[in-house]
């Protein structure tokens, strides 16, 4: 019984983890159909800000939950204004440009901080379930994933900003003729997506430590989750996160963590062969 | 008699997009060598019907038969390989290539190199665009692009030619030439023409099918269709909508 709970929690954590990693990317993709190839480096930036500010004396929860999203969000807005804005309608070029940005950021951070790993200890201790210990941080991750999805849903569904966002998502030209400045919507979207990614990076920092090239370890999972989910932010991320999280955790239990990612990709390829637009391209099409 | 054999039939063909039924239970039959006009207001489902025939869309239900063979759900290239050619509503061309290269690409599928060259040149000549052969088609005017696409389609020597609004964007003399071309083509192949241009229709039409809201609304000789009150109403109704 205890073991069942542990396995269940592990799977739930894997799903939550994918959701947290991919949420920022999914917001940007759902809205703008752009994949930010520098996603991994936005995570890295969030991680660095968390650890740097914590080392400078800021409480960990503040640096993780406030500073990381704030700074990465602002950085995202700057990137949108300087780069992405010029590439609307040139989707391939926006991929290439953000890839360039990714390399630029890895190189830049290496030049500033050096190619070393820095870390901070994981907070929250652990909980006992029967004979097993569960890190409290895992439960926090599950809680945050749920809160994140709830928050996005509430904003999209019940606020006027959410209405504008949904309208732009459905039909940008139409929204423009109704007086929506879509370029501002895109800027805000990119900023918000970046902020969420910054938060994810902050949450990551105590688990893995930070290093300039750390993003590489997480982008594969994020990308696969988003493209498998398709264009709907919440339904897509949740359905893909659930499916892929379960698969990768199952494979990890069976063979160890090395093949988890490969199994993810294989599952995604097979799924995309059947549903080229991702899960929400066919199922849950009308959802957010 | 061989020319009474149907070359194309559809049985209860249905194409749905979500809740919208674009093609609704269509039973259509075309004899070999027949020239058929397809009329109907915008949104009547004519282009969708064409896409179902050429495999660009897979019908929700119903069958499509070409030359006795059930081709429902086949890949586009396989259907085209059977001998179907289509000029799409918005010209589909290789914009970065020359007119000659476009036409040759089509001719080459059936012929060896020297013959393909000859065939392509002949088609360009026949469509009256030999002088445009070396021009990049992305830079041509709309009417000229229509002719290039027509030449491309005909160079594949299809047994069934589908033409979706071939006269759009054409000047008077171009249009007359096009009508002659269509009539000439129909001596060697079955032809289905979708068109709104009534002057053009009058020059070529005999037996005519009218689509409305995805379904076949009337099938009769063109004179009968023109004087049909109900047909006029669906057109006028549509125009009234547009005016409003």
């Amino acid at each position: 019984m205890d073991y069942t709970i542990i396995v269940f929690l592990e799977i739930l954590r894997a799903i939550s983890w994918l959701v947290i990693l991919a949420a920022g990317l999914a917001i940007i993709f759902g809205m703008m159909k752009v994949i930010n190839f520098a996603h991994g480096e936005f995570l890295m930036l969030g991680g660095y800000i968390t650890i740097m500010s914590h080392n400078a004396g800021v409480p960990l929860w503040i640096s993780m939950g406030v500073l990381a999203p704030l700074v990465v969000g602002v950085f995202g807005i700057i990137v949108e204004r300087l780069v992405i804005r010029h590439l609307y309608g040139r989707i391939i070029d926006s991929l290439l440009a953000t890839w360039g940005l990714s390399l630029l950021m890895i190189g830049g951070v290496t030049m500033v901080f050096g190619n070393t790993v820095q870390g901070v200890s994981t907070p929250l201790g652990s909980l006992s379930i029967g004979a097993y210990q569960v890190p409290g941080y895992n439960l926090l991750l599950i809680g945050i994933a749920v809160a994140m999805m709830m928050a996005i849903w509430l904003v999209l569904r019940f606020t006027s900003a959410g209405l504008i966002a949904r309208a732009t998502m459905q039909n940008p030209d139409m929204a423009e003729t109704l007086g929506v400045r879509t370029s501002w919507v895109y800027m805000a979207t990119f900023g918000l997506g970046s902020a969420v990614t910054g938060l994810a990076g902050g949450l990551l920092a105590p688990l893995t430590g930070v290093a300039p090239s750390m993003g590489v370890n997480f982008v594969a999972q994020s990308f696969i989750t988003v493209i498998t989910g398709g264009a709907s932010m919440i339904a897509g991320t949740l359905s893909a996160g659930t499916l892929l999280g379960t698969i990768s955790q199952g494979v990890t239990f069976a063979t160890g963590p090395v093949y988890g990612d490969a199994a993810l990709l294989l599952a995604a390829l097979i799924l995309l062969r059947l549903l080229p637009q991702g899960i929400t391209g066919r199922i849950f099409r009308k959802s957010l | 008699m061989s020319d009474l054999r149907p070359i194309l039939t559809t049985e209860k063909l249905v194409m749905q997009f979500g809740g919208v039924t674009a093609v609704d239970n269509v039973d259509f039959s075309l004899r070999e060598g027949e020239l058929r006009c397809l009329l109907g207001p915008n949104g009547a489902g004519k282009s969708t019907f064409f896409k179902c025939l050429t495999g660009q869309l897979t019908p929700t239900s119903g069958r499509v038969r070409f030359d006795g063979q059930d081709i429902t759900g086949w890949e586009t290239h396989a259907i085209v390989g059977m001998g179907v050619g289509i000029k799409t509503q918005v010209p589909n061309l290789f914009d970065g290539l020359s007119a000659y290269e476009n036409v040759r690409m089509s001719a080459r599928r059936k012929h060896l190199r020297p013959m393909a060259k000859e065939k392509a040149e002949e088609m360009l000549e026949k469509c009256g665009i030999a002088h445009l052969a070396r021009r990049e088609v992305g830079l041509l005017a709309h009417g000229q692009r229509q002719l290039v696409e027509l030449a491309t389609v005909l160079a594949g020597e299809p047994r069934l030619v589908l033409l979706d609004e071939p006269a759009a964007g054409m000047a008077g003399d171009e249009r007359d030439r096009l009508a002659d071309l269509v009539l000439e083509t129909s001596r060697r192949a079955a032809v289905v023409v979708v068109e709104h241009d009534m002057a053009f229709i009058r020059r070529i039409a005999k037996f005519t099918t009218v689509f409305n809201r995805g379904a076949i609304f009337r099938e009769a000789m063109i004179d009968e269709i023109m004087s049909d009150r109900a047909v006029q109403e669906i057109y006028l109704g549509k125009q009234a909508d547009v005016a409003a």
Binding site: L87, I106, F223, A262 | D95, R113
Partner: protein
């Protein structure tokens, strides 16, 4: 536009240049220069794999390093096990090509959009990189070859004369063999591009719907092109392994994929010669900048990539060509399409 090889001065110039370097180069260069230039030759073969499929088929692969690395590891493992290099060299082409065909089947028959294709090809590279990094233990061995994880495989055999496993090539001979491969590859690709197969590829690049409506099997055609590109990249990987005589997981790195994109963009999508020139210039530039130890290599690469996308989207050679043409036709406005850039369809 129309390509007639026989009357194209660029084709003859590049072919002649290749032959001249092949025969005369080793007479004038010292060992260090030969090694340096051999590197450019190998990377030129690598860049042609992308320049061909992107420029002449509109297929954008963000994961050429996956095939490059697969070719490098295939060659190394096979050569260590077989004790000779000729058949392993063939495998370095064949295995990545087969893998490319399988991956291409999923992508093209799944009708993935450009963005999805980009992401999938990139993720494939990442996963190879991750997997191979985890093969450090002695249990990860294929025959006599230990994969070695992040340490890579040391002592990859040098190329030998086919049929005589003891007759190793010296650096000058290796340069000549590689230069011959590059020249031959260039000529063969140009012939392929000018052939009917190549024209169909170009048609597909311009308009997939029309190509299918003319009766051409677009997806099969793209799988073949993609597999060919994968094979060429794999062959370059094999050349890289034997040139360096060791390999590590960096052959699968994202930088390696990015480099292929950068060189192709810099040289111009829709040409073969441009990307080769870009390899030489940019590798030389990054060597010199690297020697100064001020700027990080990734930083330079990323910077170049962003500048290219934002400021020179058509690439070096076409921009140069248009510039010259614009000077000739002074005053008249000339509209020009962007070759190879596929309209985004999401």
């Amino acid at each position: 536009m129309e390509t007639s090889l026989r009357t194209d001065p660029g084709f003859w110039f590049m072919t002649a240049l290749g032959l001249v370097l092949l025969f005369l180069g080793p007479l004038f260069w010292d060992l260090f220069q030969i090694m340096q230039i051999t590197q450019y030759v190998v990377l030129s073969v690598y860049v042609l794999s992308l320049a061909y499929i992107w420029g002449f088929g509109g297929i954008l692969s963000f994961g050429q390093a996956a095939f490059f690395g697969l070719g490098a590891y295939t060659f190394s493992v096979a050569a260590i096990n077989m004790g000779e290099t000729t058949f392993p060299f063939v495998l370095a082409f064949a295995i990545p090509a087969i893998f490319g065909a399988a991956l291409g089947y999923f992508m093209f028959y799944g009708k993935l959009s450009d963005v999805y294709m980009g992401v999938v090809t990139m993720v494939v590279t990442l996963i190879f990189w991750k997997l191979i990094n985890h093969t450090a233990g002695p249990e990860y061995a294929i025959g006599d070859a230990r994969l070695g994880g992040f340490n890579g495989i040391p002592s990859v055999p040098v190329l030998n004369v086919p049929g005589d496993a003891q007759a190793w090539l010296d650096p000058g001979q290796m340069f000549q063999v590689f230069m011959a491969i590059l020249t031959l590859l260039y000529v063969l690709l140009r012939i392929l591009i000018a052939s009917d197969f190549g024209r169909i590829s170009m048609g597909i690049r311009e308009n997939e719907t029309r190509a299918a409506l003319l009766g051409y099997d677009v997806r099969r055609h793209k799988v073949i092109m993609f597999a060919l590109g994968a094979g060429i990249a794999g062959m370059a990987g094999g050349m890289w392994a034997t040139y360096q005589t060791f390999i590590d997981p960096n052959v699968f790195s994202l930088e390696m994929s990015a480099k292929a994109l950068i060189w192709t963009m810099a040289g111009g999508v829709g040409t073969l010669a441009g990307p080769i020139v870009a390899v030489v210039l940019l590798q030389y530039l990054s060597l010199k900048l690297g020697e100064m130890h001020i700027l990080n290599n990734n930083f330079i690469l990323g910077g170049i990539m962003m500048v290219l996308v934002l400021l020179v989207p058509k690439g070096g050679l076409p921009t140069l060509r248009d510039g010259i043409a614009a000077l000739r036709v002074r005053g008249s406005v000339r509209r020009s399409g962007t070759p190879g850039k596929v309209a985004p369809d999401v």
